[in-house]
């Protein structure tokens, strides 16, 4: 096939990152100048490259990785509440004292009391260690604050859905596997957010979970999984409920922990 632009044949290798430096530089210069043939080819080959990435089988990360990530994130960029400033944390005050001590020791060292040098260096090291320990405390306190904030944000989001002006309400009735169960769905069609609450559901073993579905266009779509406490009640906030076709029904099934793409277990609630 004849190429409309001599550079077009390089695009496929470019999308894979396979061009040698010289060719890559030449192509990038050509692309920067604008080319009606190469620009769409670049976009198309970019999509092919992205699809190649999808051929690698997904591997569920270890459970701890998620919590480690969230904790590390809280330390990397301290959480900034959007409202009133949080009260000072005890750890922060202690860290401040550690820093002040280190700084004052550094000043003493600077005036050059040589006879005291060794002693002061020892104390400086001690202060450094104290500061390090306090920094760890501070990171833990921040992580705890962030967890509290997560709960607060979740509650606020529930309240925001329930306060919507055009709230749709759907009752879910019990089915034989859980005769005492009852469920209610509150959907804000404007935002596509919904709050589901259920009660009277039997607690499940650790390898099982409840999964909420909505049926639209004749096919079930997962709206997420939830667990119930000892009293048999559970709650779920669902984002992005904006199916192309109307929702025909809501249902809850019992599924393997983590949920499944399509329902497989017994149905306990249905609208």
């Amino acid at each position: 096939m004849a190429d409309a632009c001599p550079f077009e044949a390089l695009i496929a290798a470019h999308a894979l990152g396979a061009l040698d430096d010289e060719e890559r530089t030449a192509l990038e210069r050509h692309l920067a100048a604008g080319c009606d043939v190469c620009a769409p080819e670049l976009a198309a080959m970019g999509r092919v490259a992205e699809a190649i990435a999808m051929t690698a089988s997904p591997v569920r990360p270890r459970e701890e990785l998620r919590s480690e990530l969230v904790t590390r994130a809280a330390a990397v960029r301290p959480f900034r509440p959007r409202q009133a400033a949080a009260p000072p944390v005890a750890g922060a005050r202690r860290a401040g004292r550690g820093l002040a001590l280190a700084a004052s020791i550094a000043v003493l060292l600077a005036v050059g009391a040589l006879a005291w040098g060794v002693v002061l260096q020892g104390r400086l090291e001690h202060a450094r260690q104290e500061r390090q320990a306090l920094a760890t405390d501070l990171a833990a306190a921040r992580a705890q604050l962030a967890r509290g904030e997560v709960e607060r944000v979740a509650l606020l989001r529930h309240l925001a859905v329930l306060g919507a002006s055009r709230l749709q309400q759907v009752q879910l009735a019990a089915l034989p596997p859980a005769p005492a169960a009852r469920g209610r769905m509150f959907l804000d069609p404007g935002s596509g957010q919904a709050v589901f609450s259920a009660a009277g559901l039997p607690p499940l073993p650790a390898d099982r979970t409840y999964q909420l579905w909505f049926i639209t266009g004749g096919r079930p779509v997962s709206a997420g999984t939830f667990d119930v406490g000892g009293e048999g009640s559970g709650r779920l906030l669902v984002d992005g409920v904006r199916p192309a076709a109307p929702i025909d029904a809501w249902a809850v099934t019992v599924e393997p922990a983590g949920g499944v793409p399509q329902p497989t277990g017994s149905m306990v609630l249905k609208s």
Binding site: A13, V48, T55, V153, L236, G240, P261
Partner: protein, 194 residues
């Protein structure tokens, strides 16, 4: 409570991801956790395929999501999906590692450890993209083996076509032509998708 894993059409899934990234810019670490739940498996799968050793893949996985956290404000939903953003970051970081001096040793280790450490699970992926992944695997499988081999060496091992040629002992022109023909077949097979 965190937002649940969702199975949605790809437009809704992209919108949900964009919202999660927006919340990350406001410092909501639960949004980062939710993004990780939705895409961590796909990113880890890619990293394991590229880097082999699971410890290093997990390390890069965390780096990618931490980078997404600190750079969330630079994400542009109109330029592409958050999923693509994460995949591009992951591949770029994995390539940096592969191209480091330790790359050869790592590739040797991988030869004996191709299997994933944990069974694959695609919960949270939208159905359209699950179907697309299946279709792409089939298309790759239908390519002549020499074309597939060149494409995979370039994509997953970060080799340039000269390096692919050296690895396979094939002429450079042949490798270029295999990559071009293979990629064009894949493009044709995929048709259009978001």
């Amino acid at each position: 409570m965190l937002p649940p894993e969702l199975s949605l059409d790809s437009t809704a899934a992209d919108a949900l991801d964009a919202e999660l990234v927006r919340r990350m810019t406001a410092g909501e670490s639960d949004a980062l956790g939710a993004l990780f739940e939705r895409h961590g498996g796909k990113v880890l799968g890619l990293l394991l395929r590229m880097l082999g050793a699971s410890g290093e893949a997990e390390e890069v996985l965390q780096e990618v999501f931490l980078h997404a956290w600190t750079r969330a404000a630079t994400f542009r939903a109109d330029k592409g999906s958050a999923r693509s953003w994460l995949i591009v970051m992951a591949r770029s970081r994995a390539l940096d590692r592969l191209r480091s001096t330790k790359a050869a040793r790592r590739r040797d280790e991988r030869a004996g450890a191709e299997q994933p450490v944990v069974a694959a699970a695609e919960a949270g992926a939208d159905l359209e993209r699950q179907e697309l992944a299946l279709r792409m695997r089939r298309l790759m499988g239908e390519l002549p083996v020499e074309q597939r081999e060149c494409i995979e060496l370039a994509f997953f091992e970060g080799l340039t076509h000269s390096e692919v040629a050296a690895r396979l002992g094939a002429p450079l022109g042949t490798v270029k032509s295999r990559i071009l023909m293979g990629m064009r077949k894949l493009k044709q097979g995929l048709g259009t998708y978001r």
